[in-house]
């Protein structure tokens, strides 16, 4: 399992920096928002927590596409499915690797981008906390979606279509927590619910993903 | 025709759109169904998908 994790991380680092790219997308998106909605700073600071959460979500989403597709194409998945490692564990590890290469950098970078959007000072802490609690769910849901669509040519957009509605609860609670944090309201309830979703996803979705994957490579 | 008052546009368009959508659904369903059944019958008889 550690071998798989190490390999995935190494690949992410090497293949044109999977690390940096999710981040870069996040950055560019945040930069594009003022271009598209206009430069008024009050407006920007109102929508800042939401935009940052949406950006994080999209950065995750974009990188899902090839989470399993490359392994499928070069035959790695066939071999993994016959290897001693249970497929559930393999997929959980892949989810974790995805989180480390995409979710974690986003969590770390979000405050810097908050500055660009005039996020109120009190909002930074809760933004980071909510992203840290929510992004693992995004990665695991994404792994499930990738397992569903892996054999499909041009699966990228289909994957987005399937995964985005599944992201809704996470996004609602996460963005709500960040928003409440930014205006100084209590954030407990959404944070607890967010943590619950993340836990549930990490605990259960690898099984669903492995079941789906066994069906696709059959 | 009942007097629909100032909301005539709304009510009628709601009925129009809904009934039209249902009609489209019915037509598509029936057309696809006929075609599939005819193709099947053809295959069962001729033993070949085309021609």
């Amino acid at each position: 399992m550690i071998a798989l994790l190490v390999r995935d991380l190494r690949l992410a680092l090497r293949a044109g920096g999977g690390f940096g790219l999710g981040l870069a997308f996040f950055l560019i998106l945040t930069v594009l928002v003022p271009f598209s909605v206009g430069p008024q700073s009050t407006l920007l600071s109102t929508i800042a927590p939401g935009v940052l959460w949406l950006g994080a979500l999209l950065a995750c989403l974009l990188s899902l596409d090839r989470l399993l597709a490359l392994d499928y194409e070069d035959g790695t998945l066939d071999v993994l499915a016959t290897a001693p490692l249970p497929l559930e564990a393999a997929l959980a590890v892949k989810g974790v690797a995805h989180w480390i290469t995409t979710g974690l950098p986003l969590v770390v970078a979000a405050p810097a981008l908050g500055v660009l959007l005039n996020l109120p000072a009190q909002g930074y802490g809760w933004l980071v906390v909510s992203l840290a609690l929510g992004t693992p769910a995004l990665s695991m849901i994404g792994t499930f979606g990738a397992a569903l669509t892996v054999g499909i040519k041009r699966g990228g957009l289909l994957l987005s279509l399937l995964v985005l509605p599944l992201y809704v609860p996470t996004l609602i609670f996460g963005a709500e927590a960040a928003r409440r944090g930014a205006v100084g309201m209590s954030v407990e309830t959404p944070l607890i619910l967010l943590a619950g979703i993340s836990l549930g996803c990490v605990a259960l979705l690898p099984f669903a993903a492995a079941a789906a994957l066994r069906m696709t490579i059959r | 025709m009942p007097d629909l008052g100032k909301y005539a546009g709304e009510v009628l368009s709601a009925y129009g759109i809904s009934l039209a959508l249902i009609a489209v659904l019915l037509i598509v369903t029936l057309r696809a169904g006929r075609r599939a059944r005819a193709a099947l019958k053809h295959i069962e008889r001729e033993g070949s998908p085309d021609a």
Partner: protein, 205 residues
């Protein structure tokens, strides 16, 4: 432990392809599958490897002993040859990749990225993967594609060593590998279209 298939039928895309496959491979032996294009060799091999369930019949002795090498090599273009092999070694709980590198004369190439190898070099690295699995049953789909003659010889040497150590192999190929092996021709096992084997489309026939 030997590999046994009893009355196995396999399907591809919901349609039965082969039926009534009975075969047995004992330790130390190789079985070569032959049959024209589209006969169902790949399908049968995937079934033996456990990647798809058989329609009917039983397969004994494959689970947890099989190492599968399909048309694709399972190499990552952005990892070096040595990294690729050590990854697979660790997945199978092994450590040493030196022997595998030597067997296919890959030591020179071990630090090259797998993506920058020629077709035959890639295939050699893919075959070397079987050596690091430590598994007794090798299931291989056209293993010598794009290998030059010398490399085919290395492959034959490896295989002989594996068999001598009590291993088994099932190989689908169109080429004469110059090995001493039982040949199993699947041409006549083509499933009759009317046979009822429990394929997924049968309820509709």
């Amino acid at each position: 432990m030997s590999l046994r298939l009893r009355d196995v039928a396999v399907a591809r895309g919901g349609v039965p392809v082969l039926s009534g496959v009975n075969l047995r491979v004992e330790p130390g032996n190789t079985l070569i599958l032959r049959g024209p294009n589209g006969a169902g060799k790949t399908t049968l091999l995937r079934t033996i490897a456990g990647l798809q369930p058989p329609l009917t019949g039983r397969i004994a002795g494959a689970e947890d002993t099989v190492a599968y090498a399909g048309h694709a090599d399972g190499l990552k273009a952005m990892l070096s040859v040595a990294e690729n092999l050590s990854f697979w070694a660790r997945i199978y709980g092994q450590h040493d990749i030196g022997a595998a590198l030597d067997a296919y004369h890959l030591t020179q190439l071990q630090d090259r990225l797998a993506g920058s190898l020629s077709a035959g070099q890639k295939r050699r690295a893919g075959l070397a993967r079987l050596l690091v699995t430590g598994r007794p049953l090798w299931v291989m789909d056209e293993p010598t594609v794009s290998l030059d003659r010398e490399a085919v010889g290395w492959f034959a040497d490896c295989l002989r060593a594996h068999l001598a150590g009590g291993g088994m192999a099932v190989i689908a190929t169109h080429i004469d590998l110059g090995l001493e092996a039982t040949v199993f021709d699947i041409t006549d096992l083509r499933a009759a279209p009317t046979e009822l084997l429990g394929a997924s489309d049968e309820a509709f026939l």
